[in-house]
């Protein structure tokens, strides 16, 4: 492409690039560097010490646990949802497609509130589950459900278009050639939707690590028990323990961003091939 777009007037080009990049730097990069700068001025031992507390370790451990469960559940269910919506025809399909987007549109606080109403001690599910001795709200299951809710659409949404484009035809060919259902899935379907799945998983991972509002409402925020990494950050910040808050902030953001960048690099290379 290129040339026909390259306008003869270079001033316009530099003006537009300057304007958009200044905005990007001021809005995004300056705040990020501000956080990095706060920590850069401190001795490394002090930063590490601030993250060595039991509360910090437990918070990161809990976030890791929740993220792992969420990724597994939403990857499996996301692929199933995508498969059903691409390959099957049934009444109300359009409605289901709209329904899947809902968690994106609902405020995390409202999402958490809805889960408390449903799974809380007086809720429909809550009273039923309590007869089995299962406590959801203010404990791990509630945090997991909240995180699963806010990340529900990612995998399905990323897989559906890839599936439509590559999966269906090769699946039919494999079946004609006599492959069994599982053979078809492992050797044909999964490889063809791989990139959609990987990108979806990345988004689930990043959001699970960083979710705050829904988890705050559902968890009760009990230190060492139901406090996730983001809740820990918030607590440290409101308690004026700034070093701990900044260090934990940078750690969570760095993990999430590394995942995102690595995946983007892999996907880009794949697209070029």
């Amino acid at each position: 492409m290129g040339n026909s777009f390259q306008n003869s007037n270079p001033w316009k080009k530099y003006l537009l690039i300057g304007l958009s990049m200044t905005w990007f730097v001021l809005l995004i990069l300056v705040p990020v560097s501000g956080l990095v700068g706060k920590l850069a001025g401190l001795p490394i031992t002090e930063i590490l010490l601030s993250l060595r507390s039991k509360a910090a370790a437990n918070a990161f451990l809990l976030t890791g646990k929740v993220t792992l469960i969420t990724v597994v559940v939403n990857t499996v269910m996301g692929i199933i949802i995508a498969k059903v919506l691409v390959k099957q025809h049934f009444r109300g399909k359009l409605l289901i497609e709209g329904l899947i987007d809902l968690p994106f549109a609902i405020s995390p606080v409202v999402a958490g509130f809805m889960i408390v109403i449903l799974f809380g001690p007086y809720g429909w599910m809550g009273t039923w589950l309590e007869t089995f001795g299962i406590k959801v709200v203010y404990s791990l299951p509630g945090i997991v459900i909240a995180t699963i809710f806010v990340t529900l659409p990612f995998v399905a949404k990323e897989v559906i278009p890839v599936y439509k484009q590559f999966g269906v035809q090769s699946e039919e060919a494999a079946e004609v050639l006599g492959a069994s259902k599982w053979q078809t899935f492992w050797w044909i379907t999964l490889p063809s939707i791989k990139w959609g799945v990987i990108y979806g998983v990345t988004l689930v991972l990043a959001r699970s690590l960083g979710e705050f509002g829904a988890v705050l409402v559902v968890s009760g925020n009990v230190i060492n028990q139901t406090q996730t990494a983001t809740l820990f950050i918030h607590q440290e910040f409101t308690d004026f323990n700034y070093t701990g808050a900044y260090a934990a902030s940078l750690l969570v953001a760095a993990i999430a961003f590394t995942v995102l960048i690595v995946i983007q690099a892999i996907t880009d290379r794949h697209k070029e091939n």
């Binding site: 537009l16 956080l35 199933i80 405020s107 259902k181 705050f212 509002g213 983001t230 983007q264």
Partner: protein, 268 residues
């Protein structure tokens, strides 16, 4: 064949069960709970002075964010697609940064930058501009967390836009500004609206960054999501119900608009 069909049925039932349990049941539960004390009680919860202020503040800050985002997002997408410049691939990768940063961390970063203890913050407040604990802080937070939406919605459409029509217009002597507004922009409108709707819906419900930045002062800097959280904190779930239902209804409305836009794009 029958074996395949039964497998299909199992998967479909699993999907219905999953979506029913995680999405439909919670919505049904909050709907029933909100009507427990009657519609008038719910309406009174929505129309208290503090709730109405929070709702209005949410809508105005989200609208201001959306207008800025539409202009700057479209411009950024245009620059990234049409021009080559040093560092472009790095910028392109960093556009998604706000998706990776937890919202609480966004709030903390803005307090570091504009807070009363920072150089910039104290300079601005000496000149009568308060960012943190006030509306500008809320708008900055919203702009940060929604930054990728418009860019990422417009970018692929602009990339696939055939240069033929623009070339034809140029051959016929149209100025480049005229070409942009008469040829390029109309083709981008559905994508821009999609990005705008996504960022608006995100802004309406945003909590983490705002709760850190705004100071949550009732009738001054308290948005809807923070109001709801405040009511829940003080064990007043009926009070939280009103604005929750309003936010849910707005979410439904935006989703309908988004689906309409998507179907129009697929049809075109």
């Amino acid at each position: 064949m029958t074996k395949h069909r039964s497998g299909d049925l199992v998967q479909r039932s699993l999907m219905f069960l999953y979506l029913g349990l995680l999405i439909l049941l919670p919505i049904a539960a909050i709907t029933v709970a909100s009507l427990e004390n009657g519609v008038t009680a719910l309406w009174e919860n929505i129309t208290t002075r503090q709730a109405l202020f929070a709702l209005r503040l949410t809508l105005t800050t989200a609208t201001i964010m959306m207008v800025i985002n539409v202009v700057m997002g479209t411009l950024t997408a245009y620059v990234l697609v049409r021009y080559d410049f040093f560092g472009k691939s790095v910028v392109n990768a960093l556009i998604d940064l706000p998706f990776a940063i937890p919202t609480v961390v966004t709030g903390i970063m803005l307090v570091i930058l504009y807070g009363p203890n920072s150089v910039l913050g104290s300079f601005l407040s000496r000149n009568g501009i308060q960012v943190i604990f006030d509306k500008p802080g809320i708008i900055f937070a919203l702009l940060f967390v929604t930054y990728p939406f418009v860019v990422r919605a417009v970018q692929p459409v602009l990339q696939n836009l055939s240069p033929d029509t623009a070339d034809a217009a140029r051959t016929l002597g149209a100025s480049s500004l005229r070409i942009f507004f008469k040829v390029t922009l109309p083709a981008l409108i559905p994508a821009i609206l999609t990005g705008a709707a996504l960022s608006f819906s995100r802004a309406i419900g945003e909590f983490g960054s705002i709760v850190v930045v705004s100071g949550n002062i009732p009738l001054k800097s308290q948005v809807a999501a923070v109001y709801i959280y405040g009511e829940l904190e003080s064990n007043n779930s009926q009070g939280a119900m009103g604005l929750s239902v309003v936010l849910l209804l707005i979410s439904f409305l935006i989703l309908i608009v988004l689906n309409f836009l998507q179907h129009r794009r697929e049809r075109d």
